[in-house]
């Protein structure tokens, strides 16, 4: 007991000393080295099957089991603990794209397919890429599409898929409003709102921790995950705190590009005036009045950007005859 206590204390002291000299210490690199040293050696004669392997796994826990330092039962307990910890970590980008692409197919299927106007699509993509280039997660490839429904709405699915309906585009008055709307959706992706919501929920938490190979091998589990996220995006909506965060970051991203930051706020006002209360937009977002008030306070803080352009003329030119 005393020996164990001393070892734990030594480990903590080592950690404090190592991190304290952080100018030279790279924790991520250290962990990379540990992982290299503890990875099970690859067997050239017997290639590993794609299915889940029986017996010991890699990592420190696997090493301990291989060395016979603890039994299978202890190993399983430690693995379970590590899995639970992993369930709270961000999902990998390839997994995120697989989820997002599946949801994107549902968006097209549910909302009338793509709206086919090449000129309009190009314009939305130019504004979208300009805003996405200012987001906080630019390693994601952002894709933009127009869906063929007169219902004013916009969606974002994980992995970079952004949709705006032709009904919404018909309500806009200028390019700054379009940038604000797209900025809001990009913020949902860059801050992984849908994925974080799933990871918080107990029912799908373990599924969301699976890797891409597991998704391919377990279509039923993958399907349950997609259905769960669909329910959030299309029916229940995200927590209102996440919607407000997307509003805040959408304004910030549009302002970074150089648009007038009032764009999103002005669009919310239009939406509140012109849309009936039964619209799907209202069921999945906080009330327009609450959003408008918050956005007004937020925009007041962007004094230096108050004179930024709204580009109404370019918006009219690019959308004329295309809406």
């Amino acid at each position: 007991m005393k020996k164990r206590f001393i070892i734990i204390i030594l480990g903590v002291l080592l950690g404090v000393a190592a991190v304290g000299s952080a100018s030279a210490f790279n924790l991520g690199g250290f962990l990379d080295e540990v992982e290299k040293q503890t990875r099970p050696p690859e067997k050239k004669q017997n290639p590993q099957p794609k299915a889940r392997q029986p017996g010991a796994s890699g990592g420190l826990i696997g090493l301990g089991e291989n060395l016979g330092l603890f039994d299978k039962k202890t190993s399983n307990l430690l693995q379970q603990g590590a899995k639970t910890f992993q369930a709270f970590q961000p999902i990998g980008l390839e997994e995120e794209k697989a989820i997002g692409a599946s949801l994107a197919a549902r968006v097209f299927d549910r909302y009338g397919g793509p709206y086919n106007n090449p000129g309009l699509l190009r314009y939305v993509n130019l504004v979208g890429q300009a805003v996405a280039g200012m987001s906080d997660r630019t390693e994601v490839e952002y894709h933009f599409a127009i869906i063929n429904t007169n219902e004013p709405n916009a969606f974002a699915t994980p992995g970079g898929y952004v949709f705006v309906s032709i009904g919404l585009l018909r309500l806009l008055e200028n390019e700054a409003q379009l940038a604000g709307v797209l900025g809001h959706e990009i913020a949902h992706i860059s801050h992984q709102h849908a994925l974080k919501t799933i990871q918080r929920g107990r029912r799908l938490q373990g599924i969301s921790a699976l890797g891409l190979a597991a998704f391919n091998e377990n279509p039923e589990k993958f399907g349950r995950l997609i259905d769960g996220i669909s329910d959030i995006i299309f029916t229940r909506g995200l927590d209102k705190d996440l919607e407000f965060e997307a509003d805040k970051m959408g304004v910030e991203y549009a302002a970074r590009v150089g648009y007038n930051p009032s764009g999103l706020r002005d669009f919310i006002r239009i939406l509140g005036q012109k849309t009936r209360s039964g619209s799907i937009f209202f069921s999945t977002h906080p009330p327009p009045r609450a959003r408008y008030d918050r956005l007004s306070r937020l925009v007041a803080g962007y004094r230096a950007a108050a004179g930024n352009p709204r580009l109404a003329e370019r918006f009219r030119r690019e959308t004329k005859g295309r809406l």
Partner: protein, 174 residues
């Protein structure tokens, strides 16, 4: 021996926790990372200045000076220039967070986070999980094709740049 190893695992967990909580003192020079491929390094702090070179996503730069919209930076190798400030980020794009790495070290990568696809290559086009899902849910082939078209649609970086310039946005804002 067994109890010593278990203790080491626990100590590793504490090490990670301390590492996550510790905020090291700021370094004298600030390192930032390029956010997007094709980011322009300019000779001066102006959108009209000559382009020295274009940088790849994730390129680390050392910040030498800051103005309202541009940062003067130096690259590895000593080359210097100016970059529009919103093209830089404090976190290397795509960097894994400490928690994910720790979980992989503890339990092994293959079990918790199979980063590679079943084919072992980066996917172009929809993967098997998505196709199987679409088939099982009765999603139309046109909708699946629409997603592929959406992924394949591209606007040229130079066109986005021209678009910004025409609207006097981004680095071209007054």
């Amino acid at each position: 021996m067994r109890s010593i190893f278990t203790s080491l695992v626990f100590a590793a967990f504490l090490l990670q926790t301390v590492g996550a909580l510790w905020s090291p003192p700021p370094l004298a020079a600030e390192t930032l990372y390029v956010k997007t491929n094709g980011t322009k390094l300019r000779a001066e702090g102006s959108a009209r200045a000559k382009v020295v070179t274009r940088l790849r996503i994730g390129t680390p730069v050392t910040v030498l000076m800051k103005t309202k919209r541009f940062y003067k930076v130096s690259l590895a190798g000593g080359r210097q220039g100016w970059i529009f400030k919103f093209k830089l980020t404090a976190k290397a794009p795509g960097a894994k967070k400490g928690g994910s790495r720790f979980a992989e070290v503890l339990g092994g990568r293959q079990q918790f986070s199979a980063r590679e696809s079943a084919s072992g290559s980066s996917i172009r086009g929809l993967g098997p999980a998505t196709r199987t899902y679409a088939r099982n849910k009765g999603i139309s082939a046109q909708s699946v094709q629409a997603v592929e078209n959406m992924e394949n649609y591209r606007v040229d970086l130079d066109d986005v740049d021209s678009f910004l310039q025409e609207g006097r946005l981004g680095a071209y804002a007054p």
